[in-house]
């Protein structure tokens, strides 16, 4: 069974061809493509227009790379939210057109759910499990009871964890993407050099707040400045605060719900300190913890394809008038 996956929820245009649930025949993400060559030198600035202009070419390339023809596609799976609505509609309209023309079913997929489900591209996981999806745009804890059945347990109330990393890096003018740069510098640092606060840690919920931590960081730098000597220590302490909060609340959710497995996905889950702290603490608590490979942590369409595949296996498809949405309601 061949599933075509499409994701245009944020900056990247991604299309993937998945055979059954494990065999990725092709997975192209626009950030990995030489866009200047693709467009002959002129790259459109606007995200939604970029998606519209890119998607045809990426679709053709992905089929070629996968060695399939459009009529071989059995199922079209596409992100319909959450994300920037104009960008989402670019992918959703393309998918609807394809589904209609090929007379093949359409499945509209939640981008956050797909980040958690990306683990199934390389592993088998028993249900139930707790998933943390942590990226530039999202920080959210989910309880998965079965395929296609999940509940939101908690989420950030202000900044996403990846956003806190990027904003701090930009504030210090140390470059972009902030997460990777901070991790590299922090590696040589002492993690308890500055005792940054742990906002909301002791509150009886699974929510996060990283903007207060960001403000504390800015206050610390304004007061004390930083040098080449102690920057690694300060950043290591900051990274530790984020990793501590993420792992503490996720593990708390697993214990409270009596769940034995934890899955961590999204761009920030590529952070090695985060993986380390999760592994240590989950071992202590006798929990299994699984991470996606780094190339499946960031936005990709293979995760959209596999999520759609599971819905189809359970007889769930979407109608051609399914709508896009920008955010998941939390209450």
């Amino acid at each position: 069974m061949i599933t075509l996956g499409i994701d245009t929820s944020c900056d990247d245009t991604s299309v993937s061809v998945l055979e059954d649930d494990k065999k990725i025949r092709s997975n192209i993400v626009s950030s990995q493509v030489d866009l200047h060559r693709f467009f002959g030198g002129i790259v459109p600035e606007i995200a939604s227009r970029k998606h519209v202009e890119l998607i045809d070419g990426i679709y053709d390339n992905v089929l070629k790379e996968a060695g399939v023809l459009s009529q071989d596609i059995d199922l079209v799976s596409v992100t319909n939210g959450p994300g920037l609505i104009g960008s989402i509609l670019a992918g959703l309209c393309f998918a609807k057109g394809l589904s209609f023309a090929l007379e093949k079913p359409l499945i509209a997929v939640n981008h956050i759910e797909a980040h958690a489900m990306s683990i199934f591209l390389e592993n088998e996981v028993d249900f139930p499990f707790i998933a943390l999806v942590v990226s530039g745009g999202h920080t959210i804890i989910l309880l998965f009871e079965d395929y296609c059945h999940f509940k939101v347990l908690g989420s950030t109330r202000d900044d996403a964890a990846g956003e806190a990393f990027d904003k701090i890096a930009k504030y210090l003018k140390i470059g972009y993407p902030g997460g990777q740069i901070i991790e590299d510098i922090a590696r040589k640092g002492v993690k308890d050099y500055v005792m940054f606060p742990r906002p909301m840690k002791e509150e009886a919920n699974y929510d996060f707040s990283f903007s207060g931590l960001k403000t504390s960081f800015v206050n610390y730098i304004k007061k004390n400045g930083f040098s080449d000597v102690n920057l690694a220590h300060i950043l290591s302490s900051f990274q530790e605060a984020i990793c501590d909060l993420l792992s503490y609340k996720t593990i708390k959710a697993a214990k409270d719900y009596g769940v034995e497995r934890v899955v961590v996905g999204g761009g920030v889950s590529a952070n090695n300190r985060l993986r380390e702290i999760f592994s240590e603490r989950c071992t202590q608590e006798h929990l299994d913890v699984l991470f996606s490979s780094p190339h499946f942590c960031t936005d990709n369409a293979a995760m959209i394809a596999i999520t759609g595949y599971y819905y189809f296996q359970r007889g769930i498809t979407s109608s051609l008038d399914v709508k896009g949405y920008s955010r998941m309601a939390m209450a």
Partner: protein, 139 residues
């Protein structure tokens, strides 16, 4: 021109000032938010959301990555925009004016665009670790 000045001593006081602003908001209002990193722009937007009756106002999050988040209030909708990651020409693509027909628009990092007459300018100035001066001016 109308000017109001508030002092906030904590993020939750910033919510209160935002809520007061939201309660007095009218369809078509655009709030341009100015303030350095960590000043509390998202906190102020959260307060506005509470003021217009957004049920899950506590989950009004920073739109830096998504660029724009839309919320439904009891009488007005709120479109929450962040220009932090945006380059010049992209602002028009967000079609901010369209959202003013059904509600209000709140823009963070407003200094990255030029605004028309009639926008409400909200300046959040950091005057202490937690203390902020919030200046609201109808232009």
């Amino acid at each position: 021109m109308e000017r109001k000045e508030f002092i906030s001593k904590s993020p939750s006081e910033t919510w209160d000032i935002g809520e007061y602003t939201g309660k007095n908001a009218k369809q078509g209002d655009l709030y341009a938010l100015y303030g350095e990193l960590g000043a509390g722009k998202t906190q102020f937007a959260k307060g506005i959301a509470r003021g217009i009756g957004v049920k899950d106002w506590q989950y009004v999050v920073s739109p830096s990555y998504t660029l724009m988040n839309n919320y439904e209030g009891s009488a007005l909708d709120m479109c929450h925009v962040d220009l932090y990651r945006i380059e010049g020409g992209e602002i028009e693509a967000l079609q901010i004016e369209e959202f003013l027909q059904s509600g209000i628009v709140v823009v963070e990092w407003a200094e990255r665009a030029t605004w028309w007459n009639g926008v409400i300018r909200v300046e959040i100035e950091v005057i202490g670790e937690e203390e902020r001066r919030i200046l609201i001016a109808n232009l």
